[in-house]
C-alpha cells in the first residue's frame, strides 16, 4: 500500500488533502489511490446540499458541521463552485462562511471547482467523498449550486439530498425547472424569518404532492389519510398543511414530527404507509441558518430519512445504482480516451473534417471507420 494512503488511513489531514488534490488533478497514479481507498469506504453518511446561489447553503453547512461536532462526530465537507468556462479560473468562496469551525481540523473543508471536462466533476466528487469516507469522517456533506445536469449528478453522490429554497424565490413555475423537485429528499426553506417563507412552504408542499402522485400514490401526500385510493391530489384533497393559514413563523418551524405519530408525521412529510411497505414524502423544513433556528429539526429529518433508507433497503439500492453509474462513467471516459488516441493515430480530426467538407465522406462513415477496430477487437481475440 502506498505511503500516502497509509498516512491518510492513519488520520493525517495533510495526506487526505493531498489525495484529494491528486484526484482533482487526475495526477498520474490517482486511479491506484482510489482503488486502494475503496475497501475502506462505506461508513460515512453522505448528505448533499443544493440550492440556488445565495440560498444560504454554506452558512447552513457551517452550522450543521458545528452541531455534528458537538455530538462527537467528525465531518468532511466538499463545496463545489463553478469555474470560468473561458479561463478555467475560479473564486471558491464557500470557505468564508465556515466561521463556526475555526481551528477544528476534524471539520475537513475542501473547496472544489467544477473544472471543465465532461463528467469530470462528478468523478472527482465521488472519489473525493471516498477519500473522506476512508479517512473515517462520520458525516460527509457535498455542497453545490443546484442547476442543471452536472449538479444533479454531483448530489447523487449523497444518500440524502436536501434542497434549499429561499423564500419568495419566484412563482411555482420556477420550482418545476431543472429537476430541482425530483432530487430533494428534504426541502429546506432557509431564511425563514423573511417575508414570503410561509407561501414558499405551501407552494413547495403542493408541488411535492403532485410529484408524489406516482411513488406514494394513494397516500394523499401530506394528508396522511392513506385512503385516497384515486390518487387524486388537489388542494381540496385535504393535503395542505392546516397551519398554513396561521402565518406565525415560529409555530411553523417544525420537523417531520416523531415517527410514532403518523398523523402528524404524514402531515409534515416523512415516511408514510403505502401498500406493501413505506414510502418517503419529502418534508419541508424551515430554518434560519444564520441563527441556527430550525437546525435541530433539520438534522432530525435527515436522520429520519437515513433510517428510512436503512429500514427499506433503499440505502443498498442507492449504493448499487451509484456504483453502476460510476462504472458506466469510467467506461465512457476510458473509451473516449481510446477513441481520441485512435483519431490521433489516423492523422487527427482535421483530416477527417477536410474529407467531410470536400464531400468525399460523411461524419457517419468516419465514425464507423474509427470505431471499427474497437468493435471488431473482441472477435479477434
Amino acid at each position: 500500500m502506498g505511503e500516502l494512503i497509509q498516512d491518510l488511513l492513519d488520520g493525517k489531514h495533510r495526506a487526505l488533502a493531498r489525495v484529494i488534490t491528486k484526484i482533482e488533478n487526475r495526477s498520474p497514479g490517482y486511479r491506484d489511490l482510489v482503488r486502494e481507498l475503496h475497501a475502506h469506504t462505506g461508513n460515512a453518511e453522505v448528505i448533499g446540499i443544493t440550492g440556488s446561489p445565495g440560498a444560504g447553503k454554506s452558512t447552513l453547512v457551517d452550522k450543521m458541521a458545528a452541531e455534528y461536532r458537538d455530538r462527537g462526530l467528525t465531518v468532511g465537507v466538499i463545496a463545489i463552485d463553478p469555474s470560468s468556462p473561458f479561463t478555467g479560473g475560479a473564486v471558491l468562496g464557500d470557505r468564508i462562511r465556515m466561521a463556526s469551525n475555526v481551528g477544528d481540523m476534524d471539520v475537513f473543508f475542501r473547496s472544489m471547482s467544477a473544472r471543465g471536462q465532461l463528467g469530470g466533476v462528478s468523478t472527482a466528487t465521488t472519489d473525493a467523498v471516498k477519500a473522506l469516507d476512508a479517512f473515517g469522517k462520520d458525516r460527509v456533506i457535498v455542497e453545490t449550486v443546484g442547476a442543471g445536469q452536472n449538479e444533479i449528478d454531483i448530489v447523487r453522490t449523497a444518500d440524502t439530498v436536501a434542497v434549499l429554497v429561499p423564500p419568495s424565490s419566484g412563482d411555482d413555475v420556477q420550482m418545476l425547472k431543472a429537476g430541482i423537485l425530483e432530487i430533494g429528499d428534504v426541502f429546506v426553506v432557509n431564511k425563514a424569518d423573511l417575508d414570503g417563507a410561509d407561501r414558499t412552504v405551501s407552494e413547495l408542499k403542493e408541488m411535492i404532492m403532485m410529484r408524489d402522485a406516482s411513488p406514494a400514490a394513494g397516500t394523499g401526500g401530506y394528508s396522511g389519510a392513506g385512503t385516497d385510493a384515486t390518487g387524486h391530489h388537489g388542494p381540496d384533497a385535504g393535503g395542505m398543511d392546516d397551519d398554513d393559514d396561521t402565518p406565525d413563523p415560529t409555530s411553523e418551524i417544525t420537523g417531520p414530527g416523531s415517527a410514532g405519530t403518523p398523523g402528524r408525521s404524514a402531515r409534515h412529510g416523512g415516511t408514510v404507509e403505502v401498500e406493501g411497505g413505506e414510502a418517503w414524502v419529502p418534508p419541508v423544513v424551515q430554518t434560519v441558518a444564520k441563527s441556527g433556528e430550525g437546525l435541530d429539526e433539520f438534522l432530525e429529518t435527515l436522520g429520519e430519512h437515513r433510517s428510512y433508507l436503512e429500514r427499506t433497503g433503499e440505502l443498498q439500492a442507492k449504493a448499487r445504482a451509484r456504483y453502476a453509474a460510476e462504472i458506466r462513467r469510467l467506461l465512457r471516459e476510458d473509451t473516449r480516451e481510446l477513441l481520441e488516441r485512435e483519431l490521433e493515430a489516423r492523422g487527427g480530426i482535421d483530416s477527417f473534417v477536410d474529407d467531410v467538407v470536400a464531400r468525399e465522406t460523411d461524419p457517419y462513415t468516419v465514425a464507423d471507420e474509427v470505431v471499427g477496430p474497437l468493435r471488431d477487437h473482441p472477435e479477434q481475440e
Partner: protein, 140 residues
C-alpha cells in the same frame, strides 16, 4: 491510465489570506479576481483570520500558493506564526508563500528567512505577481 492528466497542465490553487486585525481587503479582492482571470483557482479567506485559520485552510485546501495580504504592519508577528503552522503539518516545503502589502525594507530579510518566497509592495504589477507564481509554483 488513460484518464490521467499531464501534471504540467494542472490548475494552480491559491489561498488569498487576510490575517489579523487588518480590515482593508480591496487589494485582496483585486488580486483574487486577477488570479481567477489568470486561470487560477482562488480561495479567499475572508477578513480578520487568525494564523491558525489560515494554516487550517492552506492545509485542507492543499493550495500551491499562499498569498498573505497584510497592511497593518503586524507581519513580523503573524507571518512567522503561519509559517510555523505550515511546518507543523509538513506543508511548508511545497507551498509557495508570498506576502503583499506594506512591508518596510528592513523587515523583508527576516520574512524571507522564515520561508516567504517574495514580497510584493505598493506598485507591484498584477502581471508581475502572476508571472512569479507561474514560474515558482511548486511541482508536485
Amino acid at each position: 491510465m488513460s484518464t490521467e492528466q499531464d501534471p504540467e497542465q494542472r490548475t494552480i490553487r491559491c489561498l488569498v489570506a487576510k490575517v489579523g486585525l487588518d480590515g482593508h481587503d480591496r487589494g485582496a479582492h483585486v488580486i483574487a479576481r486577477a488570479f481567477r482571470d489568470a486561470g487560477f483557482e482562488v480561495i479567499y479567506s475572508g477578513l480578520h483570520k487568525a494564523p491558525d485559520e489560515i494554516v487550517q485552510a492552506a492545509v485542507q485546501e492543499d493550495v500551491d500558493v499562499l498569498g498573505i495580504s497584510i497592511l497593518s504592519g503586524a507581519h513580523n508577528t503573524l507571518v512567522p506564526k503561519i509559517m510555523e503552522g505550515l511546518e507543523e503539518y509538513g506543508a511548508l516545503d511545497d507551498t509557495l508563500v508570498i506576502v503583499g502589502g506594506i512591508v518596510p525594507e528592513e523587515d523583508r530579510p527576516e520574512l524571507r528567512e522564515s520561508g516567504v518566497a517574495e514580497i510584493f509592495g505598493p506598485g507591484a504589477s498584477m502581471q508581475e505577481t502572476i508571472d512569479f507564481i507561474r514560474e515558482n509554483a511548486p511541482r508536485r
